[in-house]
C-alpha cells in the first residue's frame, strides 16, 4: 500500500473533541461529518485542509472521547494518511477499523512541515520525504488488511454478501 500526498501539521494533544465537536455526534452522513472536521480548532477549519491528504500531528493525537467521527470525518474530508508522534488508543483503533491508515513515528512526524510531499509504503514501513528515507514500525499484517479492505464494515459487508449468495 503506497500513499503520496501533501502534509499539513497539527500540534500536540489535539483531542477528539477538537477534531469533531460533540454536538455533531448524531450526524451519520459522511459528507456532513467532513464539514465539521477539525472545526473545534477554530475559524478556518476544515477549509484549511483543502489540498492536503497527509495529516501530521504531535503527541497524543485524538485523546479523550471514543467518538469514531474523529477518524471518519477526516477520511471524508480527504485525509488519506495520518502520521503522529503518538496517538490515543481509541483514535488509532477507529482509524484502522474505518480504513484510514495511520503511522505512529516520532521521527517521521517531527520531520514533517506544512506543504511537504511525502510518500509512504505501509507494507514495508518506509517513507520518503524531501529525498530522505525514514523507517517506521509497520502495522501487523492483519491490521494492514483491514485498512486495505476499507475497514471492518466493508469486510463485514463482503462476508454477509457471500453468506447470502444462493
Amino acid at each position: 500500500m503506497n500513499i503520496t500526498g501533501k502534509a499539513l501539521l497539527l500540534g500536540d494533544d489535539v483531542s477528539s473533541d477538537l477534531i469533531y465537536p460533540g454536538r455533531y455526534l448524531t450526524v451519520t452522513d459522511r459528507a456532513e461529518q467532513a464539514r465539521h472536521a477539525l472545526e473545534g480548532l477554530g475559524a478556518g477549519w476544515p477549509e484549511r485542509l483543502r489540498g492536503y491528504t497527509v495529516l501530521g500531528a504531535g503527541w497524543n493525537l485524538g485523546c479523550g472521547s471514543s467518538r469514531e467521527q474523529a477518524a471518519t470525518a477526516l477520511l471524508a474530508a480527504g485525509v488519506k494518511l495520518v502520521i503522529a508522534r503518538s496517538m490515543s488508543r481509541l483514535f488509532m483503533r477507529n482509524s484502522i477499523n474505518n480504513g484510514l491508515p495511520v503511522i505512529e513515528s516520532d521521527e517521521l512526524a517531527s520531520a514533517l512541515t506544512d506543504g511537504v510531499t511525502l510518500s509512504a509504503d505501509l507494507a514495508r514501513g518506509v517513507a520518503q520525504l524531501e529525498g530522505r528515507t525514514f523507517h517506521f514500525e509497520r502495522l501487523p499484517q492483519a491490521l494492514l488488511e483491514i485498512v486495505r479492505d476499507g475497514g471492518l464494515l466493508a469486510r463485514l459487508r463482503r462476508t454477509l454478501a457471500l453468506e447470502t449468495r444462493p
Partner: protein, 417 residues
C-alpha cells in the same frame, strides 16, 4: 505470570497471551450508549445485517442526551428502542436510569475477570470491579454486535502502588489529579494500569470507580483494581457470586514499570483549562471567579460524592451569580440521596438537581456554558469545547471543591469552610 489484563484477555482469546500480541477476543459484554446507537444501526443497515451474534450479551444505555433535547436525538432514541425490540436486546436502560458505567456496576452486570466493551471511552471505570472494561468506536461496536469478536492488542501493564491515607477534605479525584500532575496525560497510552499497595485495599468501591474512570485520561486502555475483600463485600451485598481468582493477576506477573503515589501527601487539586494534566493546587487557584458548578458524571456522580458536597452545602447557599447543577450518576444514586435528605440540602442551597445521566459533562445538554464563562466540574475532561462551548473554560476538581467553590463563587479549598 500474567498481569490481570493478560489473564482476562487470555480467557477471552481462548489461548495464553502476553503484552504486545495482537489477538482476536470474544467479550462477555458489548454495550453502547445513545450517542452511538444511530451509527450502529446505520452501519448494520448498510452491510445488510439481519441477525446479531449474541443479543443476550449486548446492552443499550440512554445517558448522553437523556431525556432527548432535540429532534435528532429524540429520533435516535426512538429508532434505538425499535431496534432493541426487533433484535431482542433485553438489557435496555431508558432515560434516567443513569450512566452506563454506573448502572452496569451497581446492578452487578459486570463482574471480576470479564472483558467488557462499550462505545464510550470511560469504560475503564469497570476496572474497579476487576473487570477489563475498555472503549470502542461505533464501527467496531457494530462489528462486535454482528460477529461476537474483534482484534485487540494486549497491553503492557503499569503497576501503581498506593501508600498512605487521604487527608480530610481530600478525595480519590485529587489522587487522579495528582497522578496526572506527576505523570501527564500520556503516561499510560495503550497500556493497562493495575492498582496495588496497602492503601488500595483501604479504598472503597466509589473511590475505586473514580480512579479507574480517570485511567483513560492518562491514556489507559484499562485500569483495574484486582479482586479483594472490598470486591467480595460489594458483590456479597448484591447477592451475586463471583470468581475471585478470575479477577486477580498471577503472583509473579511482569509489569512494564511501577509508579508510586502517597495518598497522604495529596492536597485538593484542580485541572486548569484546557488540559487534564494542567494541574494546580486549589489553594493557588483560589479566587478564580466561577459561573457554574457541576456535580455529576461517571467520575464523581455517586452517593459518596453527593454526600461530600452536601456536607459543605448544608446550611449554606450557592453564591449570587453562580448556578450549581447536580446530576446523580444513576436513578439508584438519586433514590438513595433522596432517602438521606441530600436532595433537600441541594435544593435549599439553591442548586438544581437534574435527571440522572451524563448531564453537562459531554456538552450536549443540561448545562452547556456561555461565551466567556467558567465552570468548576467534578467530571473528567476539560478540553476546549468539551462542555459545549469553545469560548468557555472548565476546571476539574473533587465534589467537595466544586461545592465549596459554588458557595463562595470563586475556586475555594473545601478545607477552609
Amino acid at each position: 505470570m500474567t498481569t490481570l489484563a493478560e489473564k482476562i484477555l487470555s480467557r477471552a482469546a481462548g489461548e495464553r497471551v502476553s503484552a504486545g500480541q495482537y489477538v482476536e477476543v470474544s467479550p462477555d459484554w458489548c454495550f453502547t450508549v445513545d450517542d452511538t446507537i444511530g451509527l450502529i444501526m446505520k452501519y448494520h443497515e448498510e452491510v445488510g445485517l439481519r441477525r446479531l451474534a449474541a443479543p443476550e450479551r449486548l446492552g443499550i444505555f440512554y445517558d448522553h442526551f437523556a431525556p432527548a433535547d432535540n429532534r435528532d436525538h429524540a429520533s435516535d432514541h426512538s429508532a434505538g428502542r425499535a431496534y432493541a425490540r426487533r433484535h431482542g436486546i433485553t438489557h435496555f436502560y431508558e432515560i434516567g436510569q443513569g450512566i452506563s458505567h454506573q448502572v452496569c456496576v451497581e446492578r452487578g452486570l459486570v463482574r471480576p475477570g470479564q472483558l467488557v466493551f462499550n462505545s464510550d471511552s470511560h469504560t475503564t471505570t469497570l476496572g474497579a470491579v476487576a473487570c477489563f472494561g475498555t472503549g470502542l468506536g461505533a464501527a467496531e461496536t457494530a462489528y462486535v454486535w454482528a460477529t461476537g469478536r474483534i482484534w485487540v492488542r494486549v497491553p503492557a501493564t503499569i503497576r501503581v502502588v498506593l501508600t498512605g491515607t487521604l487527608g480530610p477534605g481530600v478525595d480519590a479525584k485529587d489522587a487522579c489529579l495528582a497522578l496526572l500532575r506527576t505523570h501527564g496525560s500520556r503516561v499510560a497510552t495503550y497500556r493497562a494500569i493495575e492498582f496495588h499497595g496497602e492503601s488500595a485495599a483501604s479504598l472503597n468501591m466509589a473511590s475505586r470507580l473514580t480512579l479507574c474512570n480517570m485511567g483513560v485520561e492518562m491514556g489507559a486502555k484499562a485500569a483495574l483494581f484486582p479482586a479483594d475483600s472490598v470486591t467480595a463485600a460489594y458483590f456479597g451485598q448484591l447477592g451475586i457470586p463471583i470468581d475471585m481468582e478470575a479477577g486477580r493477576p498471577e503472583s509473579d506477573a511482569v509489569y512494564e514499570r511501577e509508579i508510586r503515589l502517597d495518598l497522604g501527601g495529596i492536597e485538593p487539586l484542580a485541572a486548569r483549562p484546557h488540559a487534564v494534566d494542567n494541574i494546580g493546587s486549589v489553594q493557588e487557584l483560589e479566587g478564580t471567579v466561577i459561573h457554574q458548578a457541576f456535580l455529576g458524571s461517571c467520575t464523581n456522580g455517586r452517593l459518596q460524592d453527593l454526600r461530600a458536597a452536601a456536607a459543605i452545602l448544608s446550611g449554606r447557599h450557592v453564591a449570587p451569580g453562580v448556578r450549581m447543577i447536580v446530576t446523580p450518576a444513576s436513578s439508584q444514586v438519586l433514590a438513595a440521596a433522596l432517602r438521606e435528605g441530600l436532595i433537600e440540602i441541594f435544593t435549599a442551597a439553591g442548586a438544581v438537581v437534574t435527571t440522572p445521566g451524563c448531564g453537562a459533562c459531554a456538552g450536549l445538554h443540561l448545562g452547556v456554558l456561555g461565551d466567556g464563562e467558567v465552570c468548576i466540574a467534578s467530571s473528567s475532561r476539560n478540553f476546549r469545547g468539551r462542555m459545549g462551548n469553545p469560548n468557555a473554560a472548565v476546571y476539574l476538581a473533587s465534589p467537595a471543591t466544586v461545592a465549596a467553590s459554588a458557595v463562595i463563587g470563586r475556586i475555594t479549598d473545601p478545607r477552609s469552610l
